[in-house]
């Protein structure tokens, strides 16, 4: 899946990979991150 130029929704989880980390990775691949969320399941 090619990420460069795509609109990316970074959907992380508090207990694994946070959305902010995913967003940083996606941006470094040339993606346009349009939403960053970190879900929390309790």
């Amino acid at each position: 899946m090619y990420l460069k130029g795509k609109k990316v929704i970074a959907l992380g989880e508090r207990d694994s990979i946070a959305g902010e980390a995913i967003a940083a990775v996606a941006r470094s691949a040339g993606a346009d991150v349009v939403l960053t969320r970190t879900e929390c399941f309790v």
Binding site: K6, I9, I17, I22, L35, R37
Partner: protein, 113 residues
């Protein structure tokens, strides 16, 4: 996938269209991955969220997938994800996302079998 996030995803799909909109996941549990993939492709399986009955057909990747890692800046990837990739069972996560995508693409008859 919580209801707030379903609403946000739906709104962004309306705004940008679905062709160039990609979701990159960070969940590590198989059930969570399966449900999220189903929700953003075929609709909310619980039929209670904003994506109930909404087939967005979005592409879904996982940050642990080799394809994603290969496109990222290696320093950024190592800093942001490297420790987690070593801490969790990344191979199991990669298999879970692959299986979830395959299940969505399979004809309904296959899913029942």
């Amino acid at each position: 996938m919580d209801l707030d996030n379903q609403a946000l995803v739906k709104s962004l799909a309306d705004q940008y269209g679905t062709d160039d909109l990609v979701i990159v996941l960070g969940a590590i549990d198989q059930d969570g991955i399966e449900i999220t993939v189903e929700t953003v492709t075929n609709g909310d399986p619980s039929y209670i969220g904003p994506l109930a009955g909404v087939q967005l057909g979005l592409q879904v990747a996982h940050v642990f997938e080799d394809d994603v890692k290969a496109q990222a800046d290696p320093d950024v990837y190592r800093e942001q994800v490297g420790f987690a990739e070593l801490s969790f069972d990344a191979a199991a996560v990669r298999e879970a996302i692959r299986a979830a995508r395959q299940a969505i693409q399979a004809p309904a008859g296959d899913a029942l079998g």
